[in-house]
């Protein structure tokens, strides 16, 4: 049985892991909240962003992943915006099921293009601070993981402020609530939807910069996070940032403590158990709105 010190350290590890899950999930929940679609290309786009961080870090550019954060985030936003405008919005003809299929197809194209361009080789980046550890009581936390946890909180806060204090945020909320009504009051719905998609993908850009100091990238690495992101989005409530934040941290803790109690394999069972329990009690998720 794990000691209290080990459990505390496990709790901290879970929170740190949850921070990354939050970053991946918050983009997905924004996309769902506004566009009402599950973006099946989310994992593939995360992988692409991670490769961007890797390529910027490699010589001759030699850009640190944290320094690359504004570039990769902006680039990811631009990519997401263009993907929606040129592909998803254009070919879906307004039908949700078409959007689903387009994102699925996009995922396949991106994965195989990455495999062709980068081969199946696993790439890592080695930064000087990757090995720096911060002591939090009995827990030792790698500095990059602490940074990514803090960044996840900041990004969620910024997104919250964007949604509530800016005109584009109000427009996004209006389109999410009632698309036709938003159109009637003069909101350019297509532009807002493309912007929402762009913001969702920009979150992946940030997640990639925060992940790379401690993780690896290969053409299949994005999918390891996106499956859990789907769980968090449903658990937290579709379209809810608060839900994605709390859901992500909860899942991180459950996964970590479950792994300590039951072993790394069986410990994963905690995630679907918590998921089922919460949906039984609150079918729309922790902070989801009933429609």
């Amino acid at each position: 049985m794990p000691t209290s010190q080990i459990l505390f350290a496990g709790l901290i590890n879970g929170l740190m892991a949850g921070g990354i899950y939050v970053l991946v999930a918050v983009g997905l929940t924004l996309i769902y909240g506004v566009l009402h679609i599950i973006n099946f290309a989310h994992g593939s786009l995360l992988m692409l962003a991670m490769y961007a961080v890797f390529l910027l870090w490699r010589k001759p550019l030699g850009l640190d992943p944290y320094a690359a954060l504004p570039i990769v985030t902006a680039g990811a936003f631009a990519l997401g915006y263009m993907l929606y405008r040129a592909l998803i919005g254009h070919f879906s003809h307004g039908k949700d099921e078409n959007i689903l299929l387009i994102t699925l197809g996009l995922s396949i194209v991106i994965d195989n293009a990455a495999l062709f361009l980068f081969t199946g080789d696993t790439q890592t980046i080695d930064v000087a601070y990757a090995g720096r550890m911060i002591s939090l009581g009995p827990a030792l936390v790698a500095l990059p993981k602490l940074v990514s946890f803090a960044a996840a909180l900041v990004i969620c806060l910024l997104l919250g402020l964007l949604m509530t204090r800016t005109d584009i945020g109000k427009a996004i909320r209006a389109v999410a609530r009632e698309r036709q009504g938003a159109r009637l009051v003069g909101i350019d719905v297509e532009r807002v939807m493309a912007t929402s998609f762009g913001i969702g993908i920009a979150c992946l850009g940030a997640a990639a910069c925060l992940l790379m100091p401690t993780y690896y990238v290969s053409p299949s690495s994005g999918h390891a996070f996106v499956l859990i992101a789907f769980t968090i989005v449903a658990l937290g409530g579709m379209g809810s940032f608060k839900g994605a934040l709390l859901g992500g941290l909860l899942i991180g803790i459950v996964e970590s403590i479950g792994g300590l109690w039951l072993g790394e394999q069986l410990g994963q069972i905690g995630i679907p158990l918590v998921f089922i329990l919460i949906l039984l009690l609150r079918p729309t998720g922790l902070f989801g709105a009933a429609r």
């Binding site: 794990p2 000691t3 080990i6 350290a9 496990g10 590890n13 740190m16 892991a17 994965d111 195989n112 495999l115 081969t119 199946g120 080789d121 696993t122 790439q123 890592t124 080695d126 990757a130 090995g131 550890m133 030792l140 790698a142 993981k145 401690t214 993780y215 690896y216 290969s218 053409p219 299949s220 690495s221 999918h223 390891a224 996070f225 859990i228 996964e255 970590s256 792994g259 300590l260 072993g263 790394e264 394999q265 994963q268």
Partner: protein, 409 residues
């Protein structure tokens, strides 16, 4: 009557010429067909999916071997027949590997080489057995592959049983030479056939060299986070950590342990999927003094060094997948030469009786017993100053093992 006689003579002369031509085509088909003959070889590797890197490396080795064999004149015993690769992607999935066997059977392959992953190799070779088509396993480690009594299955490299036996001997010798600082171990392994089989064998044999296996920690593929594994290892405080996993999780675990400053007498993997030049060069601090018991090329072989140069000139790393698959193709070429035919029964017979040898890897002459080559072996390796050196056995060693590894401050 005269007309009839003339007709008879005309038929006889023309008939003789036509008959001679027909006899030439029908009577000596092998000679005529051999001039344009190709022998199709099915290559099944996971070039997509979570072990895509390893599959792609295997394919590099196979392509190079086929090119070399064809350049050297093809299969001389078959009139210079050339090898033609029929490529298949198992997508790291068992069912896809099996369907590739079926597809390639339709394409008329004479033999298969594959599949990197043990579960895929087991299922695919079973499917090939229906057609009595030889199946050469290039990298699969599980001993289940060769313990099924299938006459069509051949594995040139040693399985995890032999690798574990030799690894335990090596670890025992290295530990004793250092004064036996290692008395306990934790084994972290991937939860599939390769990792579980290797870990269980190791756990049973470690006590024979005075090391207690305190815990076996399985993990899935892929694993996002190894922090808790590192935490458990720190809690158990073993002297050595033994890993058996594929490349991504191997790298992630090694990195996490380094970040968490987990002090160990040594890190020793058996068939460590991520122990390669990329780990040593990209993460030198993480990899320094890590040891692995794995398939390796013979550093003293000029042929191996030449192959290494050629592979590295393409931008690829010279990993074990490359030369193990290269050798598997060359084994097949030798068998085709001796069988002088791509007939499946003859080819299986030729493979069974094979004594083919190469100095690219530190193997003795081939000797198949129930499909397993008894002449193969792995070697003890260590990362020293961002390079990989052979540390065991002495006849192939290029450096002494650094053991115990220096502690973290």
């Amino acid at each position: 009557m005269t007309q009839w006689k003339v007709r008879r003579q005309a038929v006889t002369r023309r008939g003789f010429i036509a008959g001679s031509a027909a006899a030439g085509v029908l009577g000596f088909p092998a000679v005529l067909r051999a001039q344009a003959r190709t022998v199709r070889v099915g290559l099944i590797h996971p070039v997509t999916g979570f072990v895509a890197y390893s599959g792609q490396q295997s394919r590099i080795g196979a392509a190079m071997a086929i090119a070399d064999a064809n350049k050297a004149g093809g299969i001389k015993g078959m009139g210079g027949a050339t090898l033609e690769a029929v490529l298949g992607d198992s997508q790291s999935k068992v069912e896809v590997g099996v369907s590739e066997v079926e597809r390639m059977n339709e394409a008329g392959v004479a033999a298969y080489i594959g599949c990197f992953q043990s579960p895929v190799g087991i299922a695919a070779s079973q499917a090939a057995a229906k057609y009595n088509t030889p199946f050469i396993i290039d990298v699969g480690a599980s001993d289940l592959i060769v313990n099924r009594g299938l006459k069509n299955v051949f594995r040139l490299k040693p399985g995890f049983g032999k690798c574990v036996d030799d690894a335990v001997v090596a670890l025992g010798e290295i530990n004793r030479a250092a004064g036996s600082p290692a008395k306990s171990a934790v084994l972290v392994h991937e939860s599939g056939e390769f990792g579980t089989g290797t870990a269980k064998l190791l756990a049973g044999k470690l006590p024979s060299i005075g090391i207690e296996a305190k815990e076996l920690i399985p993990h899935d593929n892929p694993t996002r986070n190894m922090d808790n594994v590192a935490l458990r290892i720190r809690g158990i405080q073993p002297d050595i950590l033994i890993m058996s996993n594929y490349v991504n999780e191997y790298t992630l675990l090694a990195r996490t342990l380094h970040q968490q400053r987990v002090n160990l007498v040594g890190m020793f993997s058996v068939l460590g999927g991520g122990f390669n030049y990329r780990l040593a060069r990209d993460l030198p601090d993480v990899a320094e003094n890590m040891m692995d018991y794995n398939h390796w090329f013979n550093p003293k072989s000029s042929k191996a060094q030449d192959l290494k140069r050629r592979v590295e000139a393409t931008g690829a790393l010279f990993t074990f997948e490359v030369y193990l698959t290269y050798n598997s193709v060359m084994l097949l070429v030798d068998a085709l030469e001796r069988a002088q035919s791509a007939d499946k029964d003859k080819l299986i017979e030729a493979l069974t009786a094979s004594t083919w040898s190469t100095d690219i890897v530190p193997y003795g002459p081939t000797r198949f017993v129930n499909g397993q080559n008894e002449g193969g072996r792995a070697v003890g390796l260590q990362v020293q100053k961002a390079d990989i050196v052979v540390v065991h056995p002495a006849e192939y060693a290029s450096a002494a093992a650094v053991f115990p590894k220096p502690r973290y401050n």
